[in-house]
Subunit: 398 residues, 2 copies
Amino acid sequence: MSNLLIRNVRIMDGDAADIRIRDGVIADIAPELEPGDAETVDGGGHIAIPALVDAHTHLDKSLLGLPWYKNDVGGGSLIGMIENERRIKRALDYDAHVQSMRHALRTVAYGGTMIRSHVDIDTEGGLRALEGVQQTAEKLAQVVEIETVAFPQSGLMIREGTAELMDRALEMGAHLVGGLDPCAVDRDPKGHLDTIFALAEKHGKGIDIHLHEGGEMGLFSMDMILERTEALDMKGMVTISHAFCLGMPDFRRVDAMLGRLAALDVAIMTTAPSSSPAPLVRELDARGIRIGAGNDGFQDTWGPYGNGDMLERAKVVGQRNNLRMDSEVKRALDICTGGGAVAMGKPRFALETGAPGDLVLVSGDTVVQSVVSHAPRKLVVKAGRVVARDGKTLIDAP
Amino acid sequence: MSNLLIRNVRIMDGDAADIRIRDGVIADIAPELEPGDAETVDGGGHIAIPALVDAHTHLDKSLLGLPWYKNDVGGGSLIGMIENERRIKRALDYDAHVQSMRHALRTVAYGGTMIRSHVDIDTEGGLRALEGVQQTAEKLAQVVEIETVAFPQSGLMIREGTAELMDRALEMGAHLVGGLDPCAVDRDPKGHLDTIFALAEKHGKGIDIHLHEGGEMGLFSMDMILERTEALDMKGMVTISHAFCLGMPDFRRVDAMLGRLAALDVAIMTTAPSSSPAPLVRELDARGIRIGAGNDGFQDTWGPYGNGDMLERAKVVGQRNNLRMDSEVKRALDICTGGGAVAMGKPRFALETGAPGDLVLVSGDTVVQSVVSHAPRKLVVKAGRVVARDGKTLIDAP
């Protein structure tokens, strides 16, 4: 097991210290620790922050490393974008293992050591995407923890056979049951939600459902999700991703829903989008709701943006929520590090004894300055193992 | 005068060519041009785009190069942020010349060769900020064109003596008359607007007014601005910066206003903010309204974000407006290059014969890929003079 001593780092904005990680866990943080038989690395006085967590992405969508995809579809229609993706992937003979390796290692290079990835399950691709991502998760097990969500991207009730594939995906080891806009895409909220909650119950797994539906429609779907969460005693086991409806202007409606989300300990994952309403950090924090953040897919058929950098995402979260104080920007960072792990139901990444040995060294004068400039990553450590240096992973991407 | 031949570049996503710039203007674009007596630089096959334009910033606010400013004020109150800035600048004995040099040269390093800067005019700082920025504009005249707006940041009607200082600022050469939230800050829209339009009339100069006011209040102020624009025959001479009210949900109200803005050829400058309503590119384009973009102040007492990179701003504009198609992202870029120059009432930067000799070489596979990755700048050319290479200006910042 790991036995690593990182010398001479600044603990967030605090004093210089050494960090000892033993058996994957932070064993000691203090100045001038004795190396003993530990592998020793010089931290160069850089700032140590907890490792980054991408709590919402799609490892099976990126076109990284392929010729530039010229997008002429745009964002007008969700169904149109879904169909376009299937068409392009078919034409490219898309290899989910190779692409998920590229995507995951890019994330690691930026300091991400934990990823929750939705993986398309549909009657066209079958379980191939999941197989490819699982292969990547296994190969990179010592580099980045990858959690998979069986995600019915093309719809569940509208494509016969998808529920059975989801069932097999969960048997194969997908960690969570996914879902997608039960009204807008499936046009059968009862059927969609009954199906995914039944799968969750059968397999004893949690749920992470995409909910892009806005305003009252989104609140209606959310209400039906919460009914089932309560009825099946799934407190703490449900995540709602995007949850755009929580950004609707009628705050009385939103706040009532936030109270119910808090009571059932439902986690919210956000990309902090700039072009749509979104759950707001201050409002969710006031209710103590767990929040994670994600890059979502990047450089895929959906759009050209993004790069896998969750430190840059912390900046985006800060800007989206008008967080200007240093203390607020640090909360945005927390959502992309320890808070994101907690939102995933995992132990909090933190720079303290007993926490997971997952951390990143970044250059910069202060933590906030590092966030706003998405400063270079000097060293990335996963469970006490060095996995990237100077923005490059030790394992090469295919 | 300049006589420059840039060999072997790609013209946007087009074919390889050479670019000749003579006397500050693009004289020829074709493969294998004869060098003659021109200074010759190798473009290395990089992508040439028109130079970037920051059409809305504050050169007299940045804290670049100073110790990190820990913000504990936040964004709750506009007046609070204004007062905090005055207090901090006093404590720092703020040097507007040095700071504006740092800010402007950072912009140039990223490929910006034209800047419109609002400059604080108030009864505390007097004309010192303008003097400092004018000194910078003069020193950098061959590097970046800097246009100044006399900006009553601390209020106009609520601080006696400010109008007289504005008058002197315009005599001193400030290019435009500024203004600020005539209802929300000055609480006297008639007084504020009558004053700034009288100054514009007296000096024969245009207006660029900050309008953060949202919803109906913003539309009311905008209505009063348009009344005066029409009455004083100032078609094409007025700019409204931010114009958050144009992002209000009631599109019938917005669209009626867009029609009037178009009729009076009022330009809109935006930062494409993610945390507030904002004018939307597609809607303004449908009316043919001139749009420029800006970084606004960065790393100042207002907030920690931003860096002076208008190519990154093009990405922000694209994301804020949900522009996913390559053609749409190129429009976002245009707003930050040639379109921004036009919004400022200047000749369009463009890669064509007769256009200003202001351009940037960026690395990347395609223009859109360069935008979304805010790719490294290899060469920056202002009016046929090389002013930055590999992200570094040829002149050092103080």
